[in-house]
Amino acid sequence: MSAETRVEPPGPPGGSLAARRHTIGRVEIRGLSKHFGDVAALTAFDLDVHGGEFVSLLGPSGCGKSTALNLLAGLLEPDAGQILLDGQDLGPVPPERRGFGVVFQSYALFPHLTVGRNVAFGLEMMGTPPADVARRVRQTLALVHLEETIDRYPAQLSGGQQQRVALARALVIEPRLLLMDEPLSNLDAKLRLEMRLEIRRLHQTLGLTTIYVTHDQEEALSLSDRIGLMKDGMLRQVGTPEEVYLRPQSAFVANFFGYRNLFRVRVESVRGTRAEVATSGGLRLTGTVRDGVAAGAEAVAAVRPEDVEARPAGSGPGIPAKVEFAEFIGDAFECSMVADAGDPFVVRTPSRFERGASVLLNADPERLLVFPPE
């Protein structure tokens, strides 16, 4: 928290800021674990975040992502493990001395204080001179386009405005690390999109190391430099949005990123990276194997709706299937189909198929992934 390790005040990105961007706010998390009673909320959590990086923790509710964030903020005590910020062990540092910006899911704005006083709170706690407080509060509110609400109370603001105040309150203290816990989950779809851009813009302007918890894969994909996929208190895969989207390493990750067709299969044969698998209904598929898949073993085959092609029946090879119903999703249709062998498919098609129509399905073996079972 010494002066030279602080980020420049919020404002247009200056040269010094860009230069420092990768040297401060470096987070190393080593073997972090937390139990609640008999439940392991977080197990052996390891993650390195470089200065200025935006990392999302993504997973279904109860996966431990919020626990990880609360441990980082110091609001929970870990059972084991270590968190280092720029090489300094945070273990003995209480939350009030960490100087992190935290944006809570419920915003947690002080209802009895005006917007201005809410944003000033952190600065006042640090003993900043009143004139500086006033200036920086105005600057930060300008950054989130809320100057005119400075004298209003949180209850008088819309959800999106409250969200911006919560952001401003966290940013004004110039944190070395910004933690956000599902900050957009209380907003409606349109506002969520708008705030997503806003968060992206602020991150690019200020270059703050950010750890962002969400259950929304779109949010994670659009905002993050890297994404950490979590399940059952464990980190399953860490990678850039492109990596986790295109090369999921497990059926769980695949399912999270739109591989909506998942089949329990038995591996018939493996040649190189190509595998022949069969579903319990006897449907035979060809796909690309991931590590740990051998002939004769149980596996999970996964393919995205957009990677399955459907043609009217009667011409060439393919899996015979019938259309159950078609959903219009804007630029295409998503059709629920059932293969004659009994397996359900979701297929994205450019045109509408009528209910009951007979089709042939083909999936690109490169895009059909075969994972070891979970």
Partner: protein, 305 residues
Amino acid sequence: MQRTAGMRAGGGTAPVTPRAAFQWGPLLPLAPALFVVLTLFVYPFIYGLQLSLSPLPALAKGGLLANYAAFFGDPRERLSIWNTLRLAVPVTLLDLCVALPLAYRLRRPLPGQRVITGLLVIPMTLGTVLLAEGMIEFFGPAGWVNKTLLAFHLVKFPVQFVHNYTGVFLSLTISDFPAVFLVLLGYASGLDPRLEQAARTLGAGWWQRLRRVTLPLLAPGIAAAAALSFVATFSVFPSAVLVGEPAGSTRVIALAAWQAAYEQFDYPRASAIAMVMAAIELVFVTLVLVARNRAYRGPTIGGRG
């Protein structure tokens, strides 16, 4: 009211008349409550007020306010206000100071919380008379407290805890505590724990969190508890007689009114004393509410639209 009327009238296709006629219908359910308030509160109050302004013949030449003049002109009568205030104010403050940390601590489920809360609330169920009886035994010259003090040679002679100011003070403190505690517990359990966490992450230590976040948010509860407690203790009567010194240090204002009414059969003067009592309570409650309104009014959870 207009909104209710509009919604009732049309659902999706609400009429667009700019000014709907005032509808009495929705007010009808208020009638029983209004009746009760008028007959049980407003009427007796007005009756008492006019009675207090109609002095008995002995004082009649003093004019309308003769009863009030008599009360304030008599040092012994005046003293009853002080006797009551020096019970009501400290008891209210002490109960607040004890109940506030307890309510704050017990605002979230803890092991054994039900038992603790139950124990704290029991005095409410006892009633003043049973409590007084128990106190006379327990704090009496041959009671457990004095026996213990004597056994440890902390005192040479039994200490007098009852039949004086201390007795009434203790009795009121005990009997008044549950209400104060329950009111504060209600407010404290409504506090959003995220607010204190937010304050922590912004660098606030425990004292700053208490002063800047917790206490301001509990201010409405503290005000409500203080007002309730003061009104309850200011109208003290049974314990002032049973464990107090009704002829001296605990001759409280309610006792003065009672003596006027049932020892001297001067209802108008008793009514005047009751009016003085009501006026003092009103002043206190007004002061508390003014102080409270200077503090924050609104929800005690984090702002979410």
